[in-house]
């Protein structure tokens, strides 16, 4: 049962990642790309972390997964912010055509 | 097809790519990166050599060697990059 739940969660998470990546490749400028990437990947990461947590053997492992999720989420949010900030300041981000 | 075969060929290929880069790159930074690729290729070869069909444990000695290689490479990279930065500073002030 746990395996099935985990598999579903991880598969869904992967779909979000793929969607985010497609957005990164297809969208026209930095802000749109960030929009696709951060949201989709944030959700994908959470789903995969949840799925892996179902497979984890000990509470300690679950705790570590939660920690990893927290820090990766915080780091990617910060990175997204930094990229957007740089793009806005330097004016490199928006495509004008 | 076992992982050691796949990744062994990967390692040799990465080494070869690094070789091309080290010989043809003109940009200083790119040449450093090419050398780093070569070192990752060499690391692959040793890690592959250490691999044993599970459940047998891998040979730990090459692992230790690769860790040493990684630390040595970061040291060499740092010195090369410091030289590059200093040269650029001198060149920029000479031009002004």
């Amino acid at each position: 049962m746990q395996d099935v739940v985990a598999a579903v969660l991880i598969t869904t998470g992967t779909v979000f990642f793929i969607a985010g990546t497609v957005g990164l490749l297809r969208f026209p400028d930095i802000f749109c790309r960030l929009h696709a990437l951060t949201k989709a990947d944030g959700l994908g990461l959470a789903l995969i972390a949840l799925g892996v947590a179902f497979l984890a053997a000990t509470p300690g492992a679950v705790f570590r997964i939660v920690l990893i999720w927290f820090f990766v989420a915080a780091a990617s949010a910060t990175c997204g912010h930094l990229v957007a900030r740089y793009a806005r300041r330097s004016g490199a981000g928006v495509r004008h055509d | 097809m076992t992982p050691d075969l796949i990744y062994g060929l990967t390692g040799v290929a990465v080494f070869g790519i690094g070789l091309v880069g080290a010989l043809s790159a003109q940009d200083r930074l790119r040449r450093v990166l090419a050398l780093k690729l070569c070192s990752v290729g060499a690391g692959f070869l040793l890690v592959v050599g250490a691999w044993r069909e599970p459940p047998a444990a891998p040979d730990p000695v090459p692992h230790a060697l690769v860790i040493t290689g990684i630390v040595v490479m970061v040291s060499a990279t740092a010195v090369a990059l410091a030289l590059i930065r200093r040269l650029q500073t001198l060149e920029a002030t000479d031009e002004r």
Partner: protein
């Protein structure tokens, strides 16, 4: 509880502690450096006594023993290299004391000592090592310290040369590392004993090729010599003497040593090595003839001399490497001493005259006679005139080549000798001729302590030729290089 220490471990650890102390206490760096060199030389002398008394000695570090652990081993050849390093290093340090004494060189002085002592650690480590991965780490210690010494002056030319040297060095080390990987794949061990007697399979041939090319890059064998002239010509004089006299010898020593252990697939490969050497002799000689600056000429002469050592090494013939390595070893020792003397003398000449343009050497009223005399003495050994050590090395090379009927190697050696006579004559002409701009009275420079070190080195290069027989029998101690005892 008494600590029992072997002189082998001291030869590596004393310079290491010295480097640490010199880095932490920059104000006392010179003092620490000298104390370290004296102690290191003492350790090497102790080791030489042991080797003379007992033959080759070994030390299994950590008590594990090869192949799991790393063994140190000292035989005649390694002690000879250690002694060369100590003696040349000590004398170059004396010269460095003088040439780095100015107040504007405080910074150079502060960094010269830790870098040089780290270099010494690496070189002594190479000469005692019996494990190819350990050799890789040691040559990296040497590489980083040597690059640091190359760029000591901080000039743009030196930095550019240092960067090229760094690329060549890293690249060579990585080729070596890849070769180590192939050795492991085939043999599952990395000590010298494991290499002996292994059949030359594909992986080992690849390893041999990678390791050889990597080392050829490090020792600047033609056509991989491109980095050397600029690096050695643009460094400050003591650094040049260390780089040209000692650092390239470390990689040469590894070639010499590994050639005894690694299986050679065919003699043709050895001929190829000899051809590369011959190319270096000719090309290095021609470039030295064309060089406009004295230090550049000396640097190109290093390229030619390294080629000659490889020719000596390659004229194996029927007897194999068992004879030819001795000629190569003698030439390594001779070149190490004479080239250090020559670079120091060239540095003195440049300091006194203010430039080192060969064409204008005779246009200055200042005549640094002692440095010029030293330069000429060193040139005698490098050209290979009797009774110098260089002569003995060349003689042993030609004798072996003639005995084996390899007249082409004799021809290359002769051509190299003639070229060296020609390019050194360009310098001598500048020393001797007064006719172009006749200064009223050539101002002869007095005797300076700074000239003592290069002069001693040059005299050694000549005088050791008279002691060639004991030197030769010393480097044969522990031969054939077998398993660590």
């Amino acid at each position: 509880m008494s600590v029992e220490i072997s002189p082998m471990i001291l030869s590596v650890f004393v310079p290491l502690f010295g480097a640490i102390a010199a880095f932490v206490l920059p104000r006392a760096a010179a003092l620490i450096g000298f104390a370290t060199l004296v102690l290191t030389s003492g350790a090497v002398a102790w080791l030489a006594r042991d080797v003379l008394a007992a033959g080759a000695v070994g030390l299994p570090l950590g008590g594990w023993g090869a192949p799991l652990g790393i063994d140190l081993r000292a035989d005649g050849l390694s002690v000879a290299m250690l002694a060369l390093t100590s003696v040349v290093g000590f004398l170059v340090s004396i010269a460095a004391l003088d040439s780095l004494k100015g107040p504007e060189q405080a910074r150079q002085r502060q960094y010269f000592w830790p870098l040089w002592l780290l270099l010494l650690t690496g070189m002594n480590g190479v000469y005692l090592s019996t494990d190819i991965f350990n050799l890789y780490v040691m040559i990296e210690v040497i590489a980083l310290a040597a690059v640091g010494l190359t760029v000591l002056s901080g000039s743009r030319a030196a930095l550019q040369a240092g960067l090229d040297y760094m690329y060549a060095s890293i690249f060579g080390a990585l080729l070596f590392l890849m070769g180590v990987g192939f050795v492991y794949l085939q043999l599952g061990r990395l000590d010298f004993a494991g290499l002996t007697g292994a059949a030359p399979t594909g992986a080992l041939i690849a390893a041999l090729a990678l390791i050889f090319v990597g080392l050829a890059l490090k020792t600047a064998l033609f056509p991989l010599h491109f980095w050397l002239p600029a690096a050695h010509a643009n460094a400050t004089a003591p650094a040049s003497a260390l780089l040209s006299g000692l650092v390239v010898k470390a990689a040469l020593y590894v070639v010499l040593r590994l050639a005894q252990y690694m299986p050679f697939p065919s003699e043709n490969l050895l001929t190829l090595v000899g051809l590369m050497g011959a190319g270096a002799v000719i090309w290095g000689g021609v470039q030295a003839l064309r060089a406009e600056r004295l230090k550049l000429l000396v640097a190109w002469s290093t390229v030619a001399q390294i080629g000659l050592i490889f020719v000596a090494f390659a004229r194996a013939g029927e007897v194999g490497l068992s004879e030819s390595w001795k000629a190569a070893a003698l030439l390594i020792l001779a070149h190490g001493i004479a080239k250090a003397a020559m670079f120091l003398a060239a540095g003195r000449i440049k300091d006194e005259i203010g430039h080192d343009v060969i064409r204008d050497l005779d246009r200055t009223p200042i005549r640094p006679t002692l440095a010029q005399f030293t330069f000429a003495l060193a040139a005698i050994s490098l050209i290979g005139l009797p009774p110098s050590l260089g002569f003995i090395g060349k003689w042993s090379l030609m004798e072996g080549a003639m005995a084996a009927g390899y007249w082409h190697w004799v021809g290359v050696t002769m051509a190299g000798t003639l070229l060296s006579v020609a390019y050194f004559s360009r310098v001598f002409a500048g020393f001797l001729r007064f006719d172009r701009v006749r200064a009223p009275v050539g101002e002869h420079q007095g005797w300076a302590l700074a000239d003592a070190a290069p002069l001693t080195l040059a005299l050694m290069a000549i005088g050791l030729g008279l002691l060639a027989a004991p030197v030769l029998s010393f480097i044969e101690i522990g031969y054939p290089f077998g398993v660590a005892p």
